[in-house]
Amino acid sequence: MSASLQNDPSLTTPAPARGDRSGNLGIARNLGLVIALIVLCIVGVITAGDRFASTDNMLTILRLAAVIGVVSIGMTFVITGGGIDLSVGAIVALASIWATTTGTQAMADDFGWIAMVFSAVLVGTACGVINGVLIAYGKVVPFIATLAMLASARGLAEIIADRKTQIIRNQGFTDFFGAEPLGIPVIVIIFALVTLAGWFLLNRTTFGRRTFAVGGNPEAARLAGIKVQRHTVYLYALLGSTCGIAAVMLMSRTTTGSSTHGTLYELDAIAAVVIGGTLLSGGRGTVVGTLFGVLIFTTLTNVFTLNNLSTSAQAVAKGVIIVIAVLLQQRIANRKT
């Protein structure tokens, strides 16, 4: 029942992991994803051999996963809190532009590259706060509020950048984020840290507990004395800041800021989160699931490219594989309960 999946999942689906704590169900939930990922890897090895299995390639996959991954972690919170955000890609673009204007770069030359990082995160958070306030206090439907932000933020980015790709001249910045301590790229490390922090925040803190409450039953949360509106603002601000971080990572990857950065991130992020087992209707979410969701999508593209499939074929295959993966997951989860 599509509808029920939207409104009251527990009626049809086996109650998914609320947090990643909650016992066997949690595992059952992710087991489907683990299997899907493993199958993917096996396919990769069979079709592309060492070209897939090599450490280099693994790092490539992780590098590709890192940027969208950080956004997805933030998205997990907003969706678990019963919201949605279509503006993440635009925010990434705006943050990357803001952090690479001649002005900011000049600042960076004086105060060091941290100035760029700082401004990117700041811009991201600011956008998030605007979203949150519109939604929580202005009572604008999240879909519409963030759609408006999507349009405005990208437009603003284009105006600021005059549609030019802004190249980063600050060597310190590129060196720091380009580095690979112990052979692990910095941005991969950032991704790992964000994921850990996200998991902890969602499952081990009152903030996380309240996020589930606000998403699961806002009225009940309010009656329990939770400041639902303020919390909602926090959630979007959090997502905004992760967008800022993602912007920094993207800047270091491409050595540029551009108003075209982050195109369609909204779909990719939401897809990763939902496939991970977080409910679009809110109240249930899992960071680990999201991590798997991101890895599955990135690995998929990687395997496709290694076998140099045509873009169209990739699209078709992608669709089919997603459905199969989810169906598989359903069955497993059902068996477990």
């Binding site: 009251d8 527990s10 009626l11 109650a15 609320r18 909650s22 016992g23 169900l25 081990r204 803190t205 009152t206 903030f207 507990r209 309240r210 589930f212 409450a213 998403g215 699961g216 039953n217 009225e219 009940a220 949360a221 309010r222 009656l223 329990a224 004395g225 939770i226 400041k227 109240g283 249930r284 309960t337």
Partner: protein, 516 residues
């Protein structure tokens, strides 16, 4: 003398279209159990929602120990020391029992939750309520209505408040549970707290309450009455403005011994109930008595096809139904008035009449085009017959009072002329007056040849209405016989006997527990 702990003066609350409260006064002293009585829609829940800060107030004042206070939001009220158990369960399904109990005042250090701490405290609270079997880590969504009710009570206790408001806590509880509840209320009172207690069950109020206040149409019609020895007739007149005979209507036409219309043959769902068989003849009323969690709902939901039976079969008029198919049950003339009005019964954001006609759409349409006028008239008729208030078929269900919502669910199935009608807790939260009318309706249905099955936690109701009663305990039928051959205590004995023969822990609960 010291001012009363809590005083509400001239409280007025307007909702679009209704004046829910029109100058209500309420005075509560510490160390008393103050009962609130009134018909469905009288304004009881609205009053306590204002007290808890859930609703703003349009006029009137609240005094706390003589000092005027305003409760802008629930926090303010909670901080002052008022904990509330709402009528509509206000728990988060996705969270664990412990998380729900401590939601909003989590045990945490620097924002980091101390789960073991909370679980321990939760276990202790649930123990105090006599429900140690509900594990703190269990997901609340997997609990039944009763289980949830218990959790809400635990949550109220966890606040160690000075005023605890209970809005129809007993609606989903059986006598057994109510006893437990009354002892809890007793210690609370002796510990100096005040309890505001709302219920439609007068006998209960006599047992638990000290004083009572009666509301009618948003006004206080009587206050400071002694709970124990105010005559029932007086209370009912105060509430309804008329006299009601709450005795169960006797059957008028003799029950013809026709072939069974509904016959259930040893259906089983592992972990819920085993090997249940029974027949219902046309015009017969079969009652299911038992404690909460016995699995009665599961049984009739399975009969209805809403759950798939592992073994056994159901047939209507000799023709077997497809297992696990509501459609085939409905086609065969079955109807189920479900237990949980909110989750299973109502489309909350739709109008009253549309909810009532939902099961009879085919009847009010031609070639798929709905005959709106006819539909609204018939639905309005049904609503009147169970006395839904306010009498406005276009009202959005969400804005109805709890009891009136229940009546709407019932009206839906009265409107759809079924051959077999399964009623699960049909009068949950319905006031005395309306209840009598509903009993009459049920009787008429039976007399007109409809086969009825009634599940209720109110044993007297089961015995009073039904011709035959089945006593269910831990998913097994432990007694079957004519309902006039057994009384309430007899039923309880049967159940307890069963319990002693099995483990003390509720097996059903236990199974659910492993599932979660």
């Amino acid at each position: 003398m010291t001012p009363p702990l809590l005083e509400m003066r001239g409280i007025v609350k307007e909702f679009p279209g209704v004046r829910a409260l029109d100058g209500v006064d309420l005075v509560v002293r510490s160390g008393e159990v103050h009962c609130l009585l009134g018909q469905n829609g009288a304004g009881k829940s609205t009053l306590i929602k204002i007290l808890s800060g859930a609703h703003g107030v349009d006029a009137g004042s609240i005094l706390w120990e003589g000092e005027p206070v305003t409760f802008a939001d629930p926090q303010a009220s909670l901080a002052t020391g008022i904990a509330t158990i709402y009528q509509e369960l206000d728990l988060i399904d996705g969270l664990s029992v412990a998380d729900n109990i401590f939601l909003g005042h989590e045990r945490a250090r620097g924002g980091i939750t101390r789960d073991s701490d909370m679980n321990r405290a939760a276990r202790e609270l649930l123990g105090r309520l006599g429900h140690a079997e509900i594990r703190p880590t269990r997901e609340v969504g997997s609990l039944s209505a009763a289980g949830k009710q218990i959790v809400s009570m635990a949550r109220a206790l966890s606040r160690n408040a000075r005023v605890i408001v209970m809005d129809e806590p007993s609606a989903v509880l059986d006598p057994d549970e109510v006893d437990g509840l009354s002892t809890v209320v007793a210690d609370l009172r002796s510990s100096g707290a005040a309890i505001i207690y709302i219920s439609h069950r007068l006998e209960e109020i006599r047992r638990i309450g000290d004083r009572l206040t009666v509301l009618k149409d948003g006004r206080t019609v009587a206050t400071d009455l002694p709970a124990r020895d105010t005559p029932t007739s007086e209370l009912i007149t105060l509430m309804t403005g008329r006299t009601v005979s709450s005795v169960f209507p006797r059957r008028t036409v003799e029950l013809a011994d026709a072939d069974p219309l509904l016959s259930v043959d040893s259906i089983t769902r592992d972990g819920e109930f085993e090997d249940v068989s029974f027949d219902v003849r046309p015009g017969e009323i079969v009652g299911f008595a038992g404690l909460v969690g016995a699995g009665r709902s599961e049984i009739i939901e399975t009969v209805y096809g809403a759950r798939r039976a592992a073994r056994g079969s159901v047939s209507v008029g000799g023709r077997p139904l497809r297992n696990g198919s509501v459609a085939s049950a409905v086609n065969a003339g079955l109807g189920l008035c479900p237990e949980e009005r909110k989750s299973q019964g109502l489309v909350l954001d739709d109008a009253v009449y549309r909810n009532i006609s939902l099961a009879s759409l085919a009847r009010f349409s031609q070639y798929g085009v709905s005959l709106d006028g006819a539909e609204r008239r018939a639905a309005h008729e049904a609503a009147r017959s169970v006395d839904v208030r306010p009498d406005d078929p276009h009202r959005i269900i969400r804005t109805l009072s709890g009891g009136n919502q229940q009546k709407v669910v019932l009206a839906r199935w009265l409107l759809r002329s079924c051959k077999v009608l399964l009623l699960d807790e049909p009068t949950r939260g319905v006031d005395v007056g309306a209840r009598a009318e509903i009993y009459a309706l049920i009787r008429d249905l039976a007399d007109s040849g409809v086969a009825l099955v009634i599940v209720s936690s109110d044993i007297d109701e089961v015995l009073g209405l039904s011709d035959r009663v089945l006593v269910v305990a831990d998913g097994r039928v432990v007694h079957e016989g004519p309902s006039d051959a057994i009384d309430a205590s007899g039923v309880l004995d049967r159940i307890l006997a069963e319990h002693d023969s099995t483990t003390p822990e509720q097996p059903a609960t236990d199974k659910k527990g492993n599932a979660a």
